[in-house]
Amino acid sequence: MTEQRTEAEDATAVAPADAGTLREWLGQMLIIRRFESESVRLSYANKIPGGIHSSEGQEAVAVGSIRALGAADVVAGTHRSHHHALAKGMPPRTVMAELYGKATGCTGGRGGSMHLVDLSRNFLGSNGIVGAGLGVAMGTALAMKLQQRPAVAVGYVGDGGANTGRTWEFINLAALWKLPFIAICENNLYAVETHISRSLAGDSIAGRAAGFGLPAVAVDGQDIVAVHAAASAARDRALNGEGPTFIEARTYRYEGHNVGDVQNYRDASEVASWRQTHDPIQALRQRLAERGDLDEAGYAALRQQADETVADAIDFAERSPWPDTGTVQRAWPAAEPAGASR
């Protein structure tokens, strides 16, 4: 039976009582925010080659969903995945060094922003191809089911990715086979310059997913508590053998699609309005403050910690050596199959 909860219902989800947990979420979101604004700056400064896709504004989707997971759960991302990588526990140092193309980056500089990976933390990569990471996660979920591993796989996709055929092939298979899989669509309203009103037939992405016969929920992606609740419920279902869940998280990207994006497709006032009234960091800060769990000084301390963490990551990337050019091929031993005669 298909279930479609409303945004309002999800928004009322009860926050974990533990103030320490919420403060940790806030601190993680602050690290991501700072990491992203610095990455954009460093791209313009030609420190980061090839540009990046900033996740600023979408922090709650990544932190809220990934904090609902266990260490054994696997996450696969998109082209816009710094927030997923950091939330899954990748050290800001190895991510920043990778963006720089330094030897100390997570793939020794071979991959860059769109090919981040950390297998030790079950982060199965950002991905250059729209919709593709979802498939990697779906296949991972198949293995988890076959191997009876008590874990779930989470794949992210954008609103634009919801228009690729592959996305729905993955969802269909996951639903058909009842895989321990969670698909999270970060609907930030735009795919590059294209607003969903100009790309999406039908009422909503979650509505589209519901047609595949799996629970499909839409949540306020700027409310980390709501995202966390939806992801926790989805994980419980998956671990109980009840199959996949589709979560559409309604969110917004503050920066352009990529570095250098000329944003003539949206009003600056629209961006300002999201920043002022739908900011995930301010929402959580306020929630904590209202409960008496965070004062000005506490917030300032979290910010300072985030800024220092990111400054340290940049310093690390700056100080790190360039990769040895002899490593161009090293990561792909299959280029010379074992036993091949020379």
Binding site: G109, R110, M114, G128, A191, V192, S199, P323, T327
Partner: protein, 323 residues
């Protein structure tokens, strides 16, 4: 005429043909407002309207399928895939439908697929020298302009053909400037151009490697070595005749591309040359290409990955060192 950039030249050629033929329309992501990711369609949205500069969701298979269907019904669609790698998601539509329908059903498929190819920043998944795959597929034409003049002249020709054309424009050439031909200049497919004459060695490239070859030829000239440089311009049809004529004169040939060094256009040319002009060869035909590996992102790794003019010069010196 004042010089145009590579992107502007493509746009000028396309716009001239769109004025002349109302059946031509363009489909792709982010083309109406933005004018494409390489400014190749900048301003055409305003000029031709949203029906003819038609935004499509991120649905590569659907946009190529829409192009195939519209083409066989008498339209002349141009599907702008943005990066060449996005063709992966539309491979059946490209290679099994577009390429074969003319043969199977005897209906013309006047479809142009424009994409940006070549190796640059962006990581492994946005950089693959896969143009030779398309050239190997019966039913597809493949154009690889290296200059603004050819970007304009070749797209104009493509828009008069009855079969699907992969029109591949190199990332690194986006801003290259040069003179272009007038409204009546159409560059024929299957005619390579000799961009620099010489008589001791033939350097063969396409897209950005024409530049690599020309740089190498300049360096070699400083040492008194005369190299002829040939720009293939289209990979199918392939102008074996021009290359063979050159080899008969020089006795040596070096192919330069960004491929991962297995099969492909360079191998095809090497095979064709030894079939046609074995007795004229003074040295083995050499290939200069990238390592057999996906493409790295880090600046020093990318630089080490890409074939440069130094590698071409070295190949030539190896050939000349033979007794």
């Amino acid at each position: 005429m004042s010089p145009l950039s590579y992107s502007q030249a493509y746009r000028a050629g396309l716009a001239e043909e769109m004025e002349a033929n109302p059946g031509i329309f363009v489909m792709g992501t982010d083309i109406f407002l933005r004018g494409g990711h390489f400014a190749q369609l900048l301003g055409l949205g305003e000029r031709f309207g949203a029906d003819r500069i038609r935004d499509v969701p991120i649905s590569e298979a659907a946009m190529v399928a829409a192009g195939v269907g519209a083409a066989i019904q008498g339209m002349r669609p141009v599907v702008d895939l943005n990066f060449q790698e996005f063709a992966y998601g539309a491979m059946d539509e490209l290679c099994n439908q577009a390429a074969k329908i003319h043969y199977m059903f005897d209906i013309p498929v006047p479809l142009v697929i424009r994409a940006t190819n070549g190796i640059a920043y962006g990581g492994a998944q946005h950089n693959t020298a896969m143009e030779s795959w398309f050239a190997e597929m019966p039913g597809l034409y493949v154009a690889v302009p290296a200059t603004p003049a050819d970007a304009k002249g070749l797209i104009k020709t493509a828009l008069h053909l009855d079969d699907p054309v992969l029109f591949l424009m190199h990332k690194a050439l986006t801003g290259a400037r040069g003179e272009t031909g007038g409204p009546d200049v159409r560059v024929p497919f299957g005619r390579a151009s000799v961009v620099r004459p010489g008589d001791q060695v033939t350097l063969i490239g396409y897209g950005v490697t024409v530049r690599t070859c020309t740089e190498a030829a300049g360096q070699l000239a400083g040492d008194g070595i005369s190299a002829e440089v040939i720009d293939l311009r289209t990979l199918y049809p392939l102008d074996v005749e021009t290359v063979t004529d050159s080899l008969r004169k020089t006795g040596r040939a070096v192919m330069v591309d960004e491929s991962a060094g297995y099969g492909g256009v360079s191998a095809e040319i090497a095979a064709a040359l030894q079939e046609a002009a074995f007795d004229y060869l003074d040295a083995p035909i050499l290939r200069v290409h990238a390592p057999h590996s996906p493409v790295p992102q880090s600046p020093p790794l990318l630089q080490a990955y890409l074939p440069d003019h130094g590698a071409v010069e070295q190949a030539v010196r190896t050939q000349l060192a033979r007794p």
